[in-house]
Symmetry: C2
């Protein structure tokens, strides 16, 4: 929302929406915080389109505007982009899983910051957290602190002291806590899609399915996607 | 260059190549530093295609591989992207010029870092400097320091202590110094294109033409693009 003086309005926020459970809760939290939300959805060559379709449905359900950015990284290096690399089963071992996409969150956040500047938004929301994937470096708080500094140094908005806040409201929450928060905010979990594979039903085997079902179990709630 | 242990080789670098004079000198500096170079060229909806064509010619001349990334920011906010906003004449006034593209260098660097991780490169070179455009926040040293921190916190390479250095060899140089460096390195200045407009000849009026001609004048050298 622009005000008459062209100042960055604190009332508009950009939300990175993936179609998964975490970003859906993040969208509803941004709305709860009083922001008018513009969602940014990336079609970045994921193995399937279900995520993008889910994101569109969630944005519509929340009454939020959205834009889809189609981007293709011409290099591989992740099992999420490269059909030849096997998607890992849930693995307790340390280390960064093969589903890590090089620089993904840096790229997504950069677009969001550009959009925020152009739309005079005061915040960017991202549903990253450390619980499921301690191995993903771009889900850790220190990354978001460093990125926030980059934004305040490297944007017109930052130089003009019109802060674009990078908000990570889920950063230290467990999946069960995220789900309970979402239930309170009436997040349409039945529209979200977490499975790394694009079948008719979730595969129930990949890491993402594992963390989702564990989260609903620990929250003591049924997963509505399984009740459809 | 990958080595047998899959370590990040210090001998491969990604260079952001725009087709202008600064990034051409940067490419030759990276080669001079002993790197095998992969150039990254962005076709981001500039008003004309001459820049991208120039970048391709420069990469070929330097014997460097290149990749072109086509991206479209669906929002405007810059006279470089929006035909309705007038490109400014050289202006001594303070402030950020209308040619500033929101978040541009953050986006470009993010792609370069992703590419560097995937290609196991040890450095990203960008020809930014503060002299021509003190108004561009994403050309200042503090931005690059903050971005370097972001990369070391937010990438697999950084976590595994395989540093991806963000190199800005021109950061404090004047245009005349950049040109003199380029002459020593045999940079094909005749292939570079600086003008914001896409005419057959440079317009000689826009900011970018102004800084280029001032640079050649101060270096005491003719601009070979005018001798073609």
């Amino acid at each position: 929302m622009k005000n008459s003086k062209g100042r960055l309005s604190k009332r508009r926020a950009i939300v990175l929406l993936s179609g998964g459970l975490d970003s859906a809760v993040t969208l509803y939290l941004a709305k709860y915080d009083g922001f008018t939300v513009n969602c940014l959805i990336f079609d970045y060559g994921q193995r399937h389109k279900k995520e993008v379709e889910a994101a569109k449905k969630i944005a519509r359900q929340a009454g939020a505007a959205y834009r889809i950015i189609k981007l293709r990284l011409p290099w591989k290096g992740s099992s999420l982009l490269d059909g030849k690399i096997k998607i890992p089963r849930p693995d307790k071992a340390d280390g960064i899983p093969s589903t890590y996409v090089p620089g993904r969150n840096i790229i997504f956040l950069s677009y969001a910051v550009s959009f925020a500047e152009a739309a005079k938004a005061g915040a960017v929301y991202i549903g990253a957290h450390t619980q499921d994937y301690p191995g993903y470096p771009d889900c850790r708080p220190q990354f978001y602190r460093a990125f926030s500094k980059t934004v305040s140094c490297g944007t017109k908005a930052g130089v003009e002291k019109k802060k674009i806040e990078i908000k990570t409201p889920l950063i230290n929450k467990t999946k069960a806590e995220i789900i309970k928060t979402g239930v309170k905010l009436k997040v349409p979990f039945e529209l979200t899609w977490s499975c790394y594979k694009g079948g008719r039903f979730p595969c129930a085997k990949c890491e993402s399915c594992y963390f989702r079902s564990k989260g609903f179990f620990e929250a003591g709630l049924p997963d509505p996607i399984l009740l459809r």
